[in-house]
């Protein structure tokens, strides 16, 4: 048997050259719209066979889907695609070039941050004016058997109550903080979650004695399972309402029509059925 030939011996320089070539290949496959072009691209141009990409705050996903179904029933040429996620994620994706025609954020703060970041990314872009979409009020929920015997929101001041709310940095937590301030509550939550879904999960599983969520979450949870949890009535504090807004990002005709429908009477009807309040 002969000795096998050395297959390849790479010197440092050759290896470096190879790395360079590899990087070039990778760079060529990379995203091209680094300058924010995606913001100006419409997915469709006319009412016929147009697609509208709606980036929607997770809490609005179901109701906006219903509204989209109503809309497409009357406009069969239009396809509406929903991408649900948290408002911060949606904003980050759009700024990174994801194609979106419409953005719905759960609160005004998220929209303001998005528009500021967008203007910072490209000072030439045209200013966008968001439209109020709906408002959402807070609700107090307890597990179905109410283990801590909570009868009113003042009971949350009692020591030993396992209260779970959203972290002050997210919209539902910011709203909860305003509620506590207006009602002079001095609660000490055992957990401050990153999303309202996590608060709801802690209550329905019985881990928490009480949670502060949105009225629409209660409605959706009870529609799904009428024994999921119990709602305790609390006074309505307008200061703690969360105002959701919508903004149209492209001048796509179909997107314009859908935005008008969404913020019009037929959209509002669906939003109110889901437990949202009228925009203020």
């Amino acid at each position: 048997m002969s000795t096998p030939k050395p297959i390849a011996i790479l010197t440092g320089a050759k290896a470096l050259a190879l790395t360079g070539v590899t990087l070039l290949i990778l760079a060529a496959c990379g995203p091209r719209n680094a300058d924010g072009d995606a913001l100006g691209q419409g997915s469709g141009t006319s009412g016929d066979n147009a697609t509208v990409d709606v980036f929607v705050a997770a809490s609005f996903n179901n109701v906006v889907q219903e509204i989209a179904d109503d809309f497409t029933a009357e406009n069969p040429g239009v396809t509406i695609r929903l991408s649900p996620a948290g408002s911060a994620d949606l904003s980050a994706r759009i700024l990174a070039g994801a194609p979106a025609d419409i953005l719905i954020t759960a609160d005004e703060g998220s929209m303001t941050r998005f528009l500021d970041d967008r203007a910072e990314q490209d000072p030439q872009v045209e200013d966008l004016i968001p439209t109020p979409l709906a408002s959402n009020t807070l609700a107090l929920v307890v597990p179905k058997d109410n283990p801590a015997g909570i009868a009113s929101i003042e009971d949350l001041n009692r020591s030993g109550i396992r209260l779970v709310i959203c972290a002050p940095r997210v919209p539902c937590g910011d709203a909860a903080a305003r509620l506590a301030e207006e009602l002079n509550l001095a609660w000490s939550p055992v957990s401050e979650e990153g999303s309202v879904t996590d608060v709801l999960g802690k209550v329905t599983s019985g881990e928490a004695d009480a949670g502060i969520v949105y009225a629409t979450d209660v409605k959706a949870a009870l529609a799904n399972d009428s024994a999921a949890l119990t709602e305790i009535a609390i006074p309505h504090v307008p200061e703690s309402d969360t105002r959701s807004v919508v903004v149209q990002l492209t001048d796509n005709t179909a997107a314009q029509e859908f935005t008008d429908w969404l913020t019009g009477p037929r959209g509002l009807e669906r939003l109110q059925e889901a437990g949202f309040g009228a925009p203020e």
Binding site: A8, A88, R169, V170, E192, E193, E207
Partner: protein
């Protein structure tokens, strides 16, 4: 084996070009995102951010939890790996599969599994609750969640090393009259030390990065259950730049751990544990 050129530099020998191209692609795939994140970091703000209360509390909690998780993983995982590698009983393959399951389970599923077992209304939790023991929303719950997820990595590493090493030396020691305890300490343990080291490093790393199960099972409260990854996620909601700076903090800690372990002879350990057939020195 590395050849040395006349200039004395180490050269890559005997590797096909294809392997090198794929290796470079593999390295690029991992290094580009990390360097991209670093390039977006506002380094001047890192010291200011770290000295703030919330990130500091999250960092300290993460480190405390990771140390505790590593200790528990080693304390329970090593005996468990030995049981799996050195004994035979009906249902062992099933048991091994279930024990390794948390490695492939989505963390949120692990969190739900822990809730149904140890939650207030869980299978065990209800009894514990009756005794006045409630771990929900405490740091203990975080450590429990992390151990559940991290220990399988240690078990896998040690179990593999033991199976590869075989029982020859142990049988010889026993034949020469060594008691099981003596055999364990003089043969089995030194033989598996590299794998235990590698497994402990993996457990520590897994704990440092854990997010989903903690959130589902333990909650999120500053200084109690809000670990650094949860703090980063929360910060990102309102301040993505600060979140990137915090991410660099996490990466720095992770890098420090890897460097310390490697320079303390961990290289040998980690390699020995992952190269089949090689025994620890």
């Amino acid at each position: 084996m590395a050849l040395r050129s006349r200039r004395g530099r180490r050269r890559i020998a005997g590797l096909p070009v294809l392997v090198i191209v794929l290796a470079v692609l593999g390295a690029v795939m991992i290094m580009v995102p990390v360097f991209a994140l670093a390039s977006r970091t506002d380094w001047l703000r890192v010291p200011e951010l770290i000295s703030q209360e919330a990130p500091l509390a999250a960092l300290l909690l993460s480190l405390r939890v990771a140390v505790a998780t590593t200790i528990f993983s080693v304390a329970f995982g090593v005996p468990l790996a030995m049981l799996l590698a050195r004994t035979d009983f009906p249902g062992k393959p099933v048991m091994r599969a279930v024990i390794l399951l948390p490695m492939v389970m989505p963390p949120v599923v692990s969190g739900m599994a822990l809730l149904t077992a140890l939650g207030r209304r869980g299978v065990l939790g209800e009894t514990l609750s009756g005794w006045g023991i409630e771990i929900a929303f405490t740091t203990v719950a975080v450590v429990v969640a992390h151990t559940f997820i991290a220990m399988p990595f240690l078990v896998l590493s040690v179990d593999g090393a033991l199976s590869t090493a075989g029982i020859g030396s142990e049988v010889a020691a026993a034949t020469l009259g060594a008691s099981p305890l003596r055999t364990f300490f003089t043969i089995t343990l030194p033989q598996t030390a590299p794998a235990i080291g590698a497994g402990a490093l993996l457990s520590f790393a897994r704990s440092l990065g854990e997010f989903g199960a903690t959130l589902t099972f333990a909650g999120s409260l500053q200084g109690v259950t809000r670990t650094l990854p949860i703090e980063i996620y929360l910060t990102r909601q309102t301040n993505p730049d600060a979140a990137i700076a915090l991410s660099m903090l996490l990466i720095a800690v992770a890098l420090a751990v890897i460097v310390v372990v490697y320079s303390a002879g961990g290289t040998r350990y980690v390699r020995a544990a992952t190269v089949p057939g090689r025994k620890g020195s």
